[in-house]
């Protein structure tokens, strides 16, 4: 197989969201508005220093959509670092996802205003971001007294912030839409940390992988880790067909190599342990080129290639987010001393048995990664730092207002399981509300509780890996729907926006035939209640 240029194709746009509006400088002053028509633009800074932007149509009907952007690195990334180098920290406000004008136009056509801030700090920030949003809502209402309803939405970490706002301040908003929502901090960073730890102990033990030094020294260590991880991923990619191990492999890794374990099987197992999807931007784990590899490619190679694409993004997040959170809480936060990785892959080892090279190889890998092997030392967290991390904002999953969730089924950064968790918790909540309604029926009459949750799944196509005439996979095509992080079309975003606006107007989410028609028109979405995404692995069996 020819060398696949995977790494050059990995996008970081999902992590570093597009910025829109020039930031103002004076904190806590009234917004500065340009008074233009048909769209009036206002900018300002909240009391915590978060710049914000508002855009209000001339036909403003009293509803405003508050958008929360996703994770932005909290440090600059030097230009020399592959893939994500050259990033400059920014708190430029983002009132609409990715500056998507089609979505903005939809809102304006309905008389809905848009607003969003760039938040006071980047990195993991729900605590401060929720406060910023509360203040921003108040500021908007004061500036535009006609305001009657606020709908809140956000992507990725912005989904956590949006859900948090709906949980803590339901009186402020009438509908919410967390999209490609991250899970709470511990399961989210555990997922990324599990993969990074595996890469370290098998492929390059000089990767630090956490427990970074405080301050600038730790930032420097994280830069070094980024380079090392990207380098080792490149080596794994180059040797994917042969199964050779990187020259930087640990003694444990070299022993596995000597025993005939292919490196691609090791890489796949790490991805499955962490819970990464086996479908990625360009690899569907189904298709194969015509000829001898027609069956072998999807059975033995494609799942590992998908983990290579997805894992590189996950590892980058693991390094930068771990460094950021450790800096916030004062010590190491990833701990896998009690993790049973064999249990983690129990359900998948038979499904990917061929790509994992059979039970003998799987057992050898799991033995090498077990806590009993001193050659694969487990990561130990700082209890005080973990306690501080646990005190950071966490969502309970309570649904207080009509809520729309949307997620790609193969999102490698914020797995669909994070949204599934809310679906499952809401099923329990709804059952309890229904039971309470029945109980109240004898005294006050029966009122069935209204459904407050709409789940929009964004599945990947049945098959989408393309091959050139030589039989090599093509990775220069756009990422498939349902893959990559927050990879939504304008039509899908507009559907979410419409659903929120409808719910804010009527108190009801779209349903029945109207919903199915809208979903079909938006394309590549499903509301099938039979779909079930696994929760993030650190929740255990569920």
């Amino acid at each position: 197989m020819k060398k696949v240029r995977l790494l050059s194709l990995l996008s970081v746009t999902a992590l570093v969201t597009t910025v829109l509006v020039t930031a103002p400088t004076i904190a806590n002053a009234a917004p500065a508005c340009d008074g233009k028509s048909p769209i009036q633009s206002c900018v300002g800074v909240t009391s915590d220093g978060a710049p914000y932007a508002m855009q209000v149509p001339a036909n403003f009907n009293g509803t405003v959509a508050l958008y929360s952007h996703g994770y932005r690195f909290n440090v600059d990334i030097p230009a020399g670092i592959p893939l994500i180098g050259g990033y400059k920290i920014t708190n430029t406000p983002e009132p609409i996802p990715g500056g998507n004008m089609a979505v903005a136009q939809y809102f304006f056509s309905q008389g809905v205003a848009i607003v969003g801030s760039g938040f006071a700090r980047q990195g993991w920030n729900p605590d401060s971001a929720i406060k910023t949003n509360v203040e921003l809502i108040d500021t908007f209402k004061k500036q535009f007294p006609k305001t009657t309803k606020v709908v809140a939405w956000g992507s990725s970490l912005g989904g956590v912030i949006t859900q948090g706002l709906a949980e803590k301040y339901p009186e402020l908003i009438s509908a919410a839409a967390p999209m490609c929502m991250a899970d709470n901090i511990t399961p989210q960073l555990t997922m990324a940390g599990d993969f990074l730890w595996g890469v370290k102990v098998l492929f390059d033990p000089t990767i630090k992988g956490g427990n970074y030094s405080a301050g600038a020294a730790g930032v420097g260590e994280s830069y070094t880790d980024l380079v090392k991880v990207f380098t080792v991923m490149g080596k794994l990619q180059a040797a994917l067909a042969t199964g050779a191990w990187p020259d930087t492999s640990s003694a444990t890794g070299k022993a596995l190599a000597a025993a005939g374990v292919p490196s691609r099987s090791a890489l796949l197992l790490l991805g499955l342990m962490a819970g990464l999807p086996t479908q990625s931007a360009h690899f569907d784990s189904i298709s194969g080129p015509e000829g001898a590899l027609k069956l072998t490619f999807p059975l033995a190679l494609s799942p590992a290639l998908a983990i290579l694409e997805n894992g590189t993004e996950a590892a980058a997040l693991a390094i930068m987010a771990t460094q950021d959170v450790e800096n916030q809480v004062g010590g190491a936060i990833f701990d896998n001393t009690k993790t049973d990785y064999a249990a983690r892959v129990d359900g998948e080892r038979v499904i990917y048995n061929a790509a994992l090279s059979g039970n003998t190889v799987i057992d050898a890998l799991l033995g090498a990664l077990s806590a009993a092997n001193p050659g694969a030392p487990r990561a130990v967290a700082n209890p005080a730092a973990v306690a501080k991390m646990n005190a950071l904002h966490s969502n309970t999953g309570k649904i207080n207002v009509p809520t729309v969730l949307m997620v790609g089924m193969a999102d490698p950064i914020t797995p669909a399981g994070a949204s599934q968790r809310l679906v499952d918790l809401y099923a329990e909540q709804y059952a309890a509300e229904k039971a309470a309604a029945f109980k109240a029926y004898r005294t006050s009459g029966y009122a069935a509780p209204a459904n407050k949750l709409l789940m929009l799944w964004n599945p990947s196509p049945d098959s989408y890996t393309k091959f050139n005439e030589a039989g090599s996979p093509i990775t220069s095509t756009p990422a498939a729907q349902g893959t990559r992080h927050c990879n939504f079309t304008s039509a899908q975003l507009v559907l979410v926006a419409k659903s929120m606006v409808q719910a804010s107007n009527t108190g009801k989410l779209p349903s029945g035939g109207a919903l199915y028609t809208a979903v079909r028109k938006a394309g590549n979405l499903s509301v099938d209640k039979g779909i079930r995404a696994p929760w993030l692995k650190s929740y255990g069996d569920n």
Partner: protein, 429 residues
């Protein structure tokens, strides 16, 4: 929703009750996904193309042959059976994709006879038929774990489990090859895990065990296997793998003139399939084999005669082999389950019918089925045979001696099971 007071609620309930009563008096009508007034739609995924498809790709044609016969004779309460077949190439992720299509696009009532342990597991975890209440009938895998009704509440096995097969093999070895060196070739996944568990329960000790990773089987691999078996001086070599592994092994063994006493597992033991790969029939001669259904050449058996006649009319020129017989038998059992599910079958009533009556369904199998309200275990045993010079499996001594056991620690015993006679015209009563 507006509040509804108690009086209105009672009135509404009464109206609904009347509507319900009226509905039961109406003739057959659509009441379940995949069931209309004129048809019942079932879906099947299995390898139709690719290296793993050999032999197994005859199963859909066999099932359709029986369903066509059934449809021509009135169907099930006037409804014709439609079988939608999708090719999964034996790739688990593709099985997931194709099963999703069957459920979401084709809107089938039930999934029928999906093939392969990994594929069925992948579908169970990713498509979640249990959560959707979709029956997964008569799966083409003998992995014992699928009989776990808590984990797979809508799945019904039909083949005897690999544990049962290994236990019966172990018992045969004990009685006939005591003191001989035994070698085992097995697939290095749950298929093999089951086999190893069965042999362990039977107390079989091996001179050598050779695992192969699924997908790695081929001529080059087979040469390596033979080297290992030769080095271990195995007198008896058990091939407990898929057809492509058995064929590769026997083909290379013929070239190398390596001829231990072969013992073939039922999954990879269909002679027609093996011969199609170019393995000479003579290589199979005197090999020991196992089957839960009669020999496919036994035209004195009423079921074999009946099914082979239908198949010959439906697909003239296509050989009637073990995969065909099992495929037709599965369709035959499915028809009985649908008939027993009532005039307007639902997914629930279909499963309830198998739970309550499945153990008494007519079937070509020579061993009993274990269906009940608490068990989704299918057939529970095998007869032992030897391959004739033509390559066909026939009972040793000319008489079927069947053995039955369980997937646990239960003993292997000779079965006294009396098979129900074929219903009139081979149609469900």
């Amino acid at each position: 929703m507006k509040a509804m007071n108690r009086r209105k609620l009672i009135t509404a309930s009464a109206v609904l009750a009347v509507v319900g009563l009226a509905a039961t008096a109406l003739p057959a009508q659509a009441a379940e996904v995949g069931v209309s007034s004129t048809q019942i739609k079932l879906g099947m995924t299995l390898p139709m193309t690719g290296t793993a498809s050999l032999g197994y790709n005859k199963i859909p044609g066999a099932a359709k042959a029986y369903f066509d016969y059934l449809n021509a004779n009135g169907g099930i309460n006037g409804r014709k059976i439609t079988l939608v077949v999708k090719d999964d190439r034996y790739v688990p992720t593709e099985a997931v994709s194709k099963t999703n299509e069957l459920i979401l696009k084709d809107k089938v009532m039930a999934l029928l006879a999906p093939l392969g342990t990994a594929n069925v597991k992948a579908v169970a975890s990713s498509v979640n038929p249990a959560r959707r209440g979709i029956p997964v009938l008569f799966i083409n895998t003998g992995f014992s774990g699928f009989a776990d009704t808590k984990k797979y509440p809508t799945t019904y096995t039909v083949l005897p489990s690999y544990v049962m097969e290994a236990k019966i093999m172990g018992e045969y070895i004990k009685e006939n090859f005591a003191g001989k060196k035994i070698g085992l070739l097995y697939q290095d996944d749950d298929f093999g895990v089951d086999a190893l568990a069965g042999f362990k329960a039977a107390g079989t000790t091996f001179a050598i065990k050779v695992p192969y990773a699924s997908g790695s089987q081929g001529a080059a691999a087979a040469a390596g296997w033979i080297t290992k078996f030769k080095a271990a001086e195995a007198d008896v070599v058990i091939l407990f793998g898929v057809s492509s592994a058995t064929s590769a092994m026997l083909g290379v063994a013929a070239q190398l003139k390596y001829a231990p006493q072969w013992m073939l597992g039922s999954v990879g033991g269909d002679a027609t399939t093996i011969k199609l790969t170019g393995v000479p029939a003579g290589v199979l001669y005197n090999a020991i084999g196992f089957s839960p259904v009669p020999a496919t050449t036994d035209m004195n058996d009423e079921y074999v005669k009946f099914f082979s006649d239908i198949y010959a009319k439906a697909l003239p020129g296509s050989a009637f082999d073990l995969n065909v017989l099992l495929g037709m038998n599965t369709a035959f059992m499915t028809a009985q389950a649908l008939k027993a599910a009532g005039p307007n079958p639902t997914r629930k009533s279909l499963m309830a019918a198998i739970d309550s009556k499945g153990a008494t369904f007519a079937s070509s199998a020579l061993v009993p089925a274990g269906y009940s309200k608490t068990s989704h275990v299918g057939l529970t045993g095998y007869w032992v045979g030897k391959y004739a010079p033509t390559g066909d499996l026939a009972p040793i001594g000319g008489t079927y001696v069947t053995y039955t056991t369980d997937s646990g620690s239960g003993p292997v015993v000779k079965s006294t099971y009396k098979r129900p006679p074929m219903p009139a015209k081979g149609l469900p009563n």
